[in-house]
Symmetry: C2
Subunit: 247 residues, 2 copies
């Protein structure tokens, strides 16, 4: 990576690692120049708050690296992670400055921020940009609804397996481009056990137990409490209770 060593002003959008994947992918040279003028990189360590649900969001952002979690909390403290954002995902809501979620860095995170007003102006000028954001939002909606099925109807074992499959698919997608699933997979867990529990609607104890159960059955191998190997993704997918294509 060259980017890390370049001084901030040279971190131009046209060289960005996530360009062509992020919302800026549809923009031409002129638009990118405009975008570059308002974009600003930020690095965050794990646990740091990105946006609070208390106050208005001052910016939009693209996740460049790391994992961001969106959470909702009840008055008595019960928590639910309602969305995970990975590398080219987009953070923030158009049309309304209100932000109903608490956004927090689950791992160390790098994001690319756009001030609210300037970015909205860009959206209005470039319909392509709006279309892209729209498409992403639709994808997020699909993902949210998939997760509703998981939260409402799946067993603890299926929940944990589904989460692991989510990561396994992601890592396969990033590493090789082939979409076949019968391959082995290896990845880092971007969440602590507590976060996994909050994502799956379980307790940390149940998550831990299910993980050891999967380990004992040889379905996964746990290396570092964070690094996980899945020797046979098909087998795990079957336990996750999903068709081999579903998320």
């Amino acid at each position: 990576m060259m980017h890390g060593v370049l001084p901030e002003p040279l971190l131009r959008c046209e060289n960005c690692a996530v360009r062509n994947q992020a919302v800026c992918g549809a923009m031409d040279a002129q638009q990118i120049t405009r975008l570059n003028a308002i974009a600003r990189r930020r690095k965050l360590v794990a646990g740091q708050t990105i946006m609070s649900d208390q106050d208005k969001a001052e910016f939009f952002a693209n996740v460049v690296s790391g994992t961001v979690k969106l959470t909702k909390t009840m008055p008595d403290g019960r928590q639910q992670i309602v969305g995970l954002l990975f590398s080219p995902d987009f953070l923030g809501r158009a049309y309304s400055p209100n932000n109903p979620y608490f956004a927090e860095a689950a791992t160390d995170v790098e994001i690319c921020c756009f001030p609210h007003d300037a970015f909205e102006k860009l959206i209005n000028e470039f319909p392509d940009l709006q279309s892209r954001l729209f498409e992403r939002t639709l994808d997020e909606l699909d993902a949210a609804r998939d997760w509703m099925l998981l939260l409402g109807r799946k067993t603890a074992e299926e929940k944990v397996s589904s989460f692991l499959m989510l990561l396994a698919r992601r890592s396969l997608l990033i590493n090789c481009a082939e979409p076949q699933t019968p391959q082995p997979s290896q990845f880092e867990l971007p969440l602590t056990r507590t976060d996994m529990a909050d994502y799956l609607g379980l307790t940390i104890e149940t998550v831990s137990r299910q993980l050891t159960k999967l380990k004992t059955r040889g379905l996964i191998r746990i290396v570092n409490n964070r690094l996980v190997q899945v020797p046979d993704t098909e087998r795990l997918a079957a336990i996750a209770g999903q068709d081999s294509d579903a998320a």
Copy 2:
């Protein structure tokens, strides 16, 4: 209502009951004329399929009256309702003909259909229309995530109460325009117990038991197994485990 007795071709968009609320609300006279040319009313009885998740969606639609449920089903038959659509809501997904949900009439339903290709052309011509759809999609995303909190973290009692509060708020919103919540409310349940269970991630037995428990405690009155009265919405909202404003 005049509409019901008018022959189909006279059911013009400019007279539509949900105009100004639906996606067409932003359109001017000229646009409405265009829309009218492609729109087509359909009536469906409860239980009828609107769109299958198996095949591509051939149309978009606005819900004019009644309730539509979006469901996801696992291979073994477990089901989860992932969205409820009421009167001015929009049905269908732009940019992709694939439709990952099974859409079914929960009650008798009236919808206004737009063929896929013609409507997409309209979207591209009128950015306002796209913005409106985008906003609605963002609202749906928020609702889905609220429901994730419910499915993942709430107790059966809280789930049932939350659902009742959803309907109570809706009925108050429709009847009077005042946003105060301490009022009594009355409404029809648009779902069977089975559907309520599938919406809340419970079994029908649990739903039934929680309803009778709420009834016994005087928090609700059940008239017709379908007609429900809530004497004190604040009290019910407290049991639903939500701040008085949240969905």
